[in-house]
Structures are given as structure tokens and as C-alpha cells.
Amino acid sequence: MASTILFFLFAGFAIACAVSMVYHKNPLYSAVSLVGVFVALSCIYVTLAAPFIAVVQILIYAGAIMVLVIFVIMLLNLDEDKPLTRLRYLYAVGGGLGLILLVQTMFIFYAVLRAPKDPVDTSQTAGKSLSIGQAMYTEYLLPVEIVGIMLLMAIIGGVILVRRLEPGQLKLVVDSELDKRHEEEEKDDYRIAF
């Protein structure tokens, strides 16, 4: 009973936060709402006997990713979202997609509710950090290693993208910009000639 109440509490909170995230035009509001979703989901994970994942959820999503996002929002000092003007048709696309996904959700809900099979096993050790750790370093060692390489790569990628240009490169950029202008003119001449 308690868990059901808790679940609906957190579920309601998560959905409300999610809606608020989409609704708010201000990116920071969205971000804060999203953190709310993460926290709510983390609590739900606890009720699903997955404490490790619940904590990691907070640690990675709320503590790292969203902090980064908020950092970027603050750094770029973003203002409010403009309303859809040029791409008005996206409302229809979004509505359609949403409808399809909702129908699908209901379908899943209905299908799983109707499925005759009962849970395979309810005694839980799966979520304990020990069993997860064991799996991670035996059976799932390869994925973990891949994740390591991927994170390394992501670091390089991030650094490449945001690093300032070196002076030599900067000169090249300026040169190429001048070239480009020159070429544009040339191209125009050529078009006329043609």
C-alpha cells in the first residue's frame, strides 16, 4: 500500500516535472524541472529494489549532466525560447508523434496487464551493489571497458569542440574568409558571364 502511494506520488511528480520541462520556455526552468524528474525517478528506482542505480542516477544525471547543462545555460546566458514561427507545422508533427506514442503506451500497458505470466521471481538481490559490481567486472566487463573508451573519446571530443583556436589556425580562418569573399565576387562575375 505504502509503496503504491509512494509510487503514485513520485510518478505524479515526475510527470508534472516533465510537462513543466516541456512547457517552460526558459531553459533554466526546464533544466530544473528535469532535475525534478530525475530525482523522482531515482526514488522510484529505490522502490524497484535498485538502490545502486538510484544513487547513480542522482550522481550522474542530476549531479553531473544537468549541472553541466545548467552551467552551459548560465555561460551562454540563454534567453527564452522563441515560439515556433517559421516551422509551425511542427506542432502537427509533434502532436501526431505524441498521439502515436501515447497510443503505444496504452497498448503496452494493456498488453502487459493482460499478459497471464506472473513475475518470475520477487526475491531481489539483483539491485545490490555487490551483484551489480560482480556482473560489471565479470560478465559485463567488455561493455564497461567500452564505456571507458567512449568516455575518453567524449572528453577528447568535447575539448576539441570548445577549445579556442590556435593563432596559426586563426590566421588561416581569416585568410579563408577573405578568400571566400573574393571567390563569391568571382562567382558572381562568372554567373553573369554565363
Binding site: 538502490p51 550522481l59 549531479g63 553531473a64 549541472v67 548560465m74 555561460l75
Partner: protein, 362 residues
């Protein structure tokens, strides 16, 4: 009636426990503030607060009253909701780790059957921890990492350039030092083989020389430095560097909201001190105490608890001492130090630990 009582009893016990723990922590924090002013005073050859009560003992309460009674200014251009939310987030995140603090060893030798209505049936032990979860270390790290929101949001929502700078600095700093902190904890976790805080203490319990400060001295130093950064204390107090940013992220905060930030900072200090003690100094464990009292008995727990608080207080003193001694870093120095020195050292420590553990276990 009886069944209602039986259902309600654990909740009542928990509530009482939680209240007790929070009250205790807050009291200690309150007096840390006083102690800080006193100690700083001594360091600087002053006396410190001494007007409110004997030796200024009532100073914290006076401060509190002042905060409550002062006018609450809200900047006109601020983003109201988030402006109000930020201090709450900061304090909540600071207080949350209390639930996993191992205040002392669990009491196992007391028979609880004297309780009426059979409420004590089946209770064999009274843990001096509110929630024993097997990912305690991660939990603390996670909650601390969320704490940055309070500062960042405060900085952003105040709509002031100083606040924004403070917020930005703070998020950058916390993200950077969290890594080093996490990495420095890894060595301990590896040696202990568990993420449970009590488990880590039990792993150090055999002798004082198994305190992880000895095998993990590098980890300890890194953790300590990172902890200073995480709590925005001198010499890493850039988010609120008075001389540069007026007061950093809380420039625009006043009265009770400022008090919340203030409190959060000191609770955070307390939290990292607890972590230091638990991870490296054997937590509540007092060497040789098991010979005097029976483990699990009330006196054993009481003495351990006092020792625990004592160790924490030592760390709190260290914080104050450092504040009185060291100058502040520049921001780029801070980042360079974090990424180019602290993190590699912490990772090196992890690798070293892996190698040593592997060869020892062969």
C-alpha cells in the same frame, strides 16, 4: 489499537531518531560558527564574540534571531521562483546525507521486550544510523553533487553579474573537484570491499593501523583538499570571494535565505568531516574500547559516539585553522590544480591500490 501502534511504532522511532540527529547536527553546526569566529579571533590576536552569554555562548541564537527578524530583500529583476528555491535546495542537499551518517555502532545487547504491547518483539539491534543503505558512500557523493544546484541557481536567479559569476565558478569548481573526490574515495572502497559506510568502518575496526589513513594517505590528502573545494571553503572559496565578487552567489540574498545558505555551508563542512572520519579515521571506532566495554552495549556505543563527534570536531577545527592561515587561489590556478594535479594523483592512487591489492591477494 494495538495493531495501529505496532504499525506506527517504527515510524515514530524513525521520526524521533531523525529529529534527534538533525537537532544534534544543527547544534554542532551552530557552534561551529561560533567556534570559527572565536578561533579566527585567536589566530588574529582578537578575542572574538563574547557579549551574548558567557564567552558568547548564546551568539549563534542571537545571529539566528537577527536573520529571522531582518528585512527580506528580493531583487526586482530576479527570477522569483528559482530565487526562492535555491537556498532550499542548498540546505536540503546539505542535510540529506545525515540519514546515512554512522553515528555509532549498533546497540545489540539491550533487550527491548520491556516495551508495552509487544512493540519490542523481534528488535535485536538498534543501529545508530537512520538508514543503512549499501551504497552509502555513493549516496553522500550524489547528494553533495546535487548541492551545487543551490549555488548555481542562486547565482543565476539573482540576475546580478557577481552572482552569476559566483554561480558559474561554483559549478565549474564542484564538477572538477567531485571527480578527484570520487577517485580518492575509490581506494578506500576497494580496500573495504563495500560502499556501505558502516561496512567501511567495520573494515577498519581491527586495529588503529588499519585505519585507511595509513594505506590511503594519498587518498586522504586528496580527499581533504577536494573536500575544501566542495564546501567552498578557503582557500577554494571562489564562488563567494568577497574581494572579487562582493559575496559571490549570495550577494543578493539577505535575512533568512542568506541564513539558509550559511547553514548549508557549515552542514556541508560537517558532512565532509564525517566522510573523512568514516573513510580514513575509522569512524566511531576507538582502539581498545572493545576490551573495556562489551561491543554492542550502550556504554560502548556512547563512548564510540563521543569519539566520532570528537574526530569530526577535530576536522572542523582544521577547517577553521586553514581559513585563518591560507590565502585564496586564483580561478585558473584552482582549475589547473584540480584537473592537472589532484585528479591524476587520485587516479594514480587508485591504480596503485589496485596493483597492491592484487599482489597482496595472490
Amino acid at each position: 489499537m494495538e495493531s495501529v501502534l505496532k504499525t506506527a511504532f517504527p515510524f515514530v522511532v524513525y521520526t524521533v531518531g531523525i529529529l534527534l540527529a538533525f537537532q544534534g547536527v544543527l547544534m554542532i553546526v551552530a557552534y561551529t560558527v561560533l567556534a570559527e569566529r572565536k578561533v579566527l579571533g585567536w589566530i588574529q590576536g582578537r578575542i572574538g564574540p563574547n557579549r551574548v552569554g558567557p564567552w558568547g555562548v548564546l551568539q549563534p541564537f542571537a545571529d539566528l534571531l537577527k536573520f529571522i527578524l531582518k528585512e527580506d530583500l528580493v531583487p526586482d529583476k530576479s527570477t522569483k521562483f528559482i530565487y526562492f528555491l535555491a537556498p532550499l535546495v542548498a540546505l536540503t542537499c546539505a542535510l540529506l546525507p545525515i540519514v546515512v551518517y554512522p553515528f555509532g555502532p549498533s546497540i545489540t545487547t539491550v533487550d527491548w521486550s520491556f516495551l508495552p504491547y509487544g512493540l519490542g518483539d523481534g528488535i535485536t539491534r538498534l543501529p545508530l544510523t537512520i538508514a543503512q543503505i549499501d551504497v552509502g558512500v555513493l549516496f553522500v557523493l550524489a547528494i553533495t553533487s546535487v548541492g551545487v544546484y543551490g549555488i548555481a541557481l542562486a547565482g543565476w536567479s539573482s540576475n546580478s553579474k557577481y552572482s552569476l559569476m559566483g554561480g558559474l565558478r561554483s559549478s565549474a569548481q564542484m564538477i572538477s573537484y567531485e571527480l578527484a573526490m570520487g577517485a580518492s574515495v575509490l581506494g578506500v572502497v576497494m580496500l573495504a570491499g563495500t560502499l556501505d559506510l558502516n561496512g567501511i568502518i567495520y573494515a577498519q575496526i581491527t586495529s588503529p593501523f588499519r585505519w585507511f589513513i595509513i594505506p590511503q594517505i594519498i587518498g586522504f590528502v586528496v580527499f581533504l583538499i577536494a573536500a575544501f573545494a566542495e564546501t567552498n571553503r578557503v582557500p577554494f572559496d571562489l564562488p563567494e570571494a568577497e574581494t572579487e565578487l562582493v559575496a559571490g552567489f549570495h550577494t543578493e540574498y539577505s535575512a533568512l535565505k542568506f541564513a539558509l545558505f550559511f547553514m548549508a555551508e557549515y552542514v556541508n563542512m560537517f558532512t565532509v568531516s564525517v566522510m573523512c572520519v568514516v573513510l580514513f579515521l575509522g569512524g566511531w571506532y576507538v582502539p581498545g574500547l572493545g576490551r573495556i566495554f562489551e561491543p554492542g552495549s550502550i556504554p560502548y556505543a556512547a563512548v564510540s559516539h563521543v569519539a566520532f563527534i570528537g574526530k569530526i570536531c577535530a576536522f572542523l577545527f582544521l577547517y577553521i585553522w586553514v581559513r585563518g592561515t591560507l590565502p585564496r587561489f586564483r580561478f585558473d590556478q584552482l582549475m589547473n590544480f584540480g584537473w592537472k594535479f589532484l585528479l591524476p594523483v587520485a587516479l594514480g592512487n587508485v591504480i596503485l591500490t589496485i596493483v597492491v591489492v592484487y599482489f597482496l591477494n595472490r
